[in-house]
């Protein structure tokens, strides 16, 4: 059972990472900086709980704010470019963050041992959860409360004017600008929200892996971050969740027994999924079909309705 709870923890954290990229992708921008914001969140939260002795909740709040503020600061110059140039710029930022932590050494003596980030050797003993007696289930609930909050907020935003504005910018920037939308402000806002969510995910990640190091926040993680919402589809926040479950639970865990073949199959299955569902696993047509089905079921004279009566 513990294994499945642990797997659900991983799915939760990766969902936050995917949702951080989802926000930016809604505005039509492809950002590879999410791994950088994730790293910032991880290191800030870990330093606050391990070195400063904070409780994890304020530590996560602070980590999210720092990552969000960094995303906002990066957003202004980075979003002046678009398309491939933006991909390169955000990738460069992500690598800069990774290399910063690769060289970041800030250890303090605690008793006989030194604790804190130790450059290339990473940051060990981030043990807030076990040291405070949290069970795997407690950690799982904690993670999914944040996932639920973020998903609800994004779901609500999608249905509000803010969501319409984000999608308008994503669909046609020029048209949106001509309609009076401040495109730069919208993009920077999306980047900031994305950074905030990535920072939150990173903070939790640091605490459930107990050890973090620069190598965990490389290009592979950045690619996963944008792969989740693209694979899941941008029509709904639930698409990202479905994609994370598909990748983490099925491709990575489910196919573990295949050894090296898993890596080959991994790429092949994603290609297959993208070919079969080019607009994502949950696209607009799927959502419309689900809505139609629900309406049909509610209509008077429907078999199910009659059965219920």
């Amino acid at each position: 059972m513990d294994f499945y709870l642990g797997l659900a923890q991983i799915v939760g954290v990766h969902t936050l990472l995917g949702l951080s990229a989802y926000c930016v992708l809604l505005t039509g921008q492809v950002s590879l900086a999410q791994a950088g914001f994730f790293a910032i969140g991880a290191y800030v939260a870990a330093m606050l709980t391990v070195l400063a002795g904070w409780h994890i909740v304020p530590a996560l709040a602070a980590a999210s704010l720092v990552a969000g503020a960094t995303a906002c600061a990066v957003g202004f110059p980075a979003l002046r470019v678009r398309g491939l140039m933006l991909v390169v710029a955000t990738l460069a930022f992500g690598e800069a963050v990774r290399l910063f932590f690769f060289n970041f050494d800030y250890q303090v003596a605690k008793g006989e041992v030194k604790i804190g980030p130790a450059g290339g050797e990473g940051f060990r003993q981030i043990r807030f959860f076990p040291e405070n007696g949290w069970s795997t289930l407690d950690v799982l609930v904690f993670i999914w409360v944040f996932v639920a909050l973020v998903m609800t907020a994004l779901w609500w935003m999608d249905r509000s004017r803010a969501g319409a504005v984000l999608r308008a910018v994503g669909e046609d920037e020029v048209a949106a600008q001509s309609a009076g939308i401040n495109v730069t402000a919208v993009k920077v806002s999306a980047m900031t929200v994305g950074g905030f969510i990535a920072g939150l995910g990173g903070g939790i990640f640091a605490h459930y892996t107990a050890h973090i190091e620069h190598a965990q926040f490389g290009v592979a993680l950045a690619t996963f971050a944008i792969a989740y919402p693209i694979l899941g589809g941008l029509s709904s926040v639930f698409g990202t969740l479905i994609a994370v479950v598909f990748v983490q639970a099925f491709l990575i865990e489910g196919l573990r027994f295949l050894g090296d073949w898993r890596n080959l199959l991994f790429g092949g299955l994603i290609l297959f999924a993208m070919n079969v569902r080019p607009r994502g696993l949950i696209d607009a047509a799927t959502i419309a079909a689900v809505k139609r089905m629900r309406i049909r079921n509610r209509e008077p004279g429907n078999a199910r309705t009659q059965g219920a009566e």
């Binding site: 059972m1 797997l7 003993q125 107990a210 050890h211 898993r262």
Partner: protein, 437 residues
């Protein structure tokens, strides 16, 4: 009528149980017929037949089956460092085959049992390593052997309970003994963590002391390090410190990454430094890349020193010519009858014996000793107690039998292994010096 106790009967089917199941279903048939429920009847007949078949399959081997003590192994079986996982799995299988063929282990109640191994791939990824260990902990495995990578060990040992019996610490209570993860001081992270890896501090300390006596004319050293790999990076710190303690002047260092394939800039810097000694702290893949580039640029130091993990067949296969003369301290070479036999056995399982896989091989025999001394039961209902016993047994060890001689155990659950220096000669590893001999 259909008995609810059916499922209770199955695990302990005694002779004739399958016939009782059929009889129970036959009684139900009569009711079904009366009610005219033909579909249910047919389905239940099929289920009864399947149940009888399953009963036969379960019941017959149950009498002949011996108890199996389950252990798990895990490591990188895919990715850049996959060879380490493959070798470890082969070594564990080889050791367990030896043990099982010799009668297995004596369990707590005096019965004989076999040791069964299940090996998992963690891709040298910390997150996947945690997931793998959680999966292993949810099985009947009483201990896990692994991981390959030090970064995975850092995370894994971090999620274990730090101090045994600390009820305020909800960390995982599961014993793990590392065979490959070589970064110094990992076992002290948790009292559930153990290692059977050599002390690189002692190895390089001894090596540079030996260099001082054998190469009195060498004065300078240049270092090269695979910077993004925890083991290489940490050991480079040890090499630098010991080289300087040995009186060598460090002229500089080149850095590269595990996945790098070009090294011309780093080697150009190395050439410019023109040091007497070049020490490369990297695994076989990039060590070979650097050695080939050194040959291309004509860099010929008086002495070449390598990382412990590079004293393997992969280095010789990848760049045997270029590695000619490289000196490496290692805790394994087929220099004793036991070690030669182990190398042969590991090869039989498709692996290669080196200092890491030899550690896995030794672990197989360490586990046998602990299982027997701690009276492990190996039953599904004693899994938690057996894990405790394994931990306590490993912690109590003061000395174990290694392939090169006696292996000491420290209070912080590390090993003090005998070692020797090897050098590459004609694309084979030859023993150059045995400290203390």
């Amino acid at each position: 009528m259909l008995k609810v106790s059916l499922s209770d009967d199955i695990p302990a089917l005694e002779p004739g149980a399958k016939f009782r199941i059929i009889a129970d279903f036959a009684a139900y048939d009569a009711v079904a017929d009366r009610e005219g429920n033909v579909m249910i009847k047919k389905s239940l007949t099929i289920i009864a037949a399947l149940g009888a078949f399953a009963g036969a399959v379960v019941a017959v081997p149950a009498e002949a089956q011996e108890r199996a003590v389950k252990i798990a192994g895990f490591g990188a079986k895919s990715g850049v460092v996959r060879v380490f996982g493959i070798n470890s799995e082969a070594a564990l299988k080889a050791a367990l085959e030896q043990i099982n063929n010799a009668g297995g282990v004596t369990l707590g109640d005096g019965t004989k049992g076999k040791i069964a191994l299940e090996y998992y791939d963690d891709r040298c990824n910390a997150e996947e390593g945690i997931s793998v260990v959680r999966r292993i902990a949810s099985t009947e495995a009483i201990i896990a052997v692994g991981p390959t990578c030090s970064n995975v060990a850092e995370s894994l040992f971090g999620i274990l309970q730090k101090k045994v019996g600390d009820s305020s610490d909800s960390g995982l209570q599961f014993p793990i003994i590392a065979d490959v993860a070589a970064k110094g001081g990992l076992a002290k992270i948790s009292e559930w963590a153990f290692r059977n890896v050599p002390s690189e501090f002692e190895m390089y300390k001894s090596l540079f002391a030996w260099v001082k006596t054998q190469y009195p004319d060498v004065k300078t050293i240049y270092g090269g390090v695979e910077k993004d790999f925890a083991h290489s990076n940490a050991t480079f710190g040890v090499i630098k410190a010991q080289a300087e303690a040995g009186g060598l002047q460090l002229l500089g260092q080149g850095e590269w990454l595990l996945n790098d394939t070009t090294f011309s800039t780093q080697v150009r810097e190395m050439k410019r430094a023109n040091a007497d000694v070049v020490a490369i702290s990297a695994h076989p893949f990039t060590t070979c890349g650097v050695l080939k580039e050194m040959q291309r640029q004509g860099v010929k130091p008086k002495l070449l020193i390598g990382l412990t993990s590079s004293s393997s067949i992969e280095t010789l296969q990848g760049c045997g010519v270029q590695a000619e003369g490289i000196v490496i301290p290692t805790s394994f070479a087929p220099v004793t009858p036991e070690a030669a036999k182990a190398a042969e056995q590991v090869a039989k399982f498709g692996g290669s014996a080196d200092l890491h896989s030899a550690a896995a091989y030794e672990i197989g025999f360490i586990l046998k000793t602990v299982i027997e001394s701690q009276k492990v039961m190996g039953k599904p209902d004693t899994v938690a107690a057996d894990r405790e016993k394994m931990r306590a047994g490993l912690a109590a060890l003061k000395e174990t039998d290694g392939l090169l001689g006696k292996v000491g155990r420290t209070a912080d659950r590390e090993a003090i292994k005998p070692f020797l220096f090897v050098h590459a000669k004609d694309s084979t590893w030859k023993v150059l010096h045995r400290p203390g001999s």
